[in-house]
Assembly symmetry: C2
Homo-oligomer: 122 residues x 2
Amino acid sequence: MPEPDFDKRGGLLPAIAQDAESGQVLMVAYMNREAWRHTLESGLATYWSTSRNELWVKGRTSGQVQHVREVLVDCDEDAVLLKVEQERGVACHLGYASCFFRRVDQDAWHVIAPRLEPPSSG
Amino acid sequence: MPEPDFDKRGGLLPAIAQDAESGQVLMVAYMNREAWRHTLESGLATYWSTSRNELWVKGRTSGQVQHVREVLVDCDEDAVLLKVEQERGVACHLGYASCFFRRVDQDAWHVIAPRLEPPSSG
C-alpha cells in the first residue's frame, strides 16, 4: 500500500482536518507512519502528539473524535488532508469549532467564532 | 504586532491555503517570520521554500499567485490558515486546482480531479 513520504521531513508530516460537510478547516496536526496507519485502519483521525510524544487518537479522552470520511495526499506526498465528521462539532481543545478562531486584522488578532464548550484536554 | 510562535518549531510553521470562495484546501506549505511578514505586507501568499531555502512568493514565476483575503492563526499559535483568491484557479505546480488531487481508496491512490494546465515550476 502506498504511503506518504514520511522520511522526507524527519518522520512527521502536517495533516489537516477539514469538516467533510461545511469545508471548514478544523485543525492542523502531525502524522508519523504509525498515526497514518492507525487512521486508515480505525477510521478515526490519529496524529502524533509532538508535545506528549505519543500516538494521539484525537478525542479519545475529550470525546472530540473525528470520523474520517476521506483521506487525500498532496502532489509532493508530504502532506495529508482528512475530510472528517467532527464529533460534537468541536475540534479545538479551547472549545471552538475550529482551532482557527482568530483572524489577523491590521495589527491585532480578533476572535471570530463563538466558544461552544469549556476548554478540554483536547 | 502579534506573531505566531515561530520559535516553537524551529522557525517554520505549516501554512494552509484555502480557496476563500469554495472552501477547497489548495495546498500546505511553510512560513517563517519573513514569509509571514511579507504575506501581511504584500497581500500575496508567501512561503519559505524548504527545497530551495528561499522566500517563495507563490506564483511569482508561474503566475499562480494567491491573493490573501483573510489570515487566521490557530489556538497554539503554531499554524496559519490563509483564505485566498487563487489566480487562474490552479494552485498545484502539476496543473491541478488543488495539490490534494489524490484520494486514498482501499490500497491505492486515485486521482479525483482534472488536470487544468500543464505542469509548471510552481
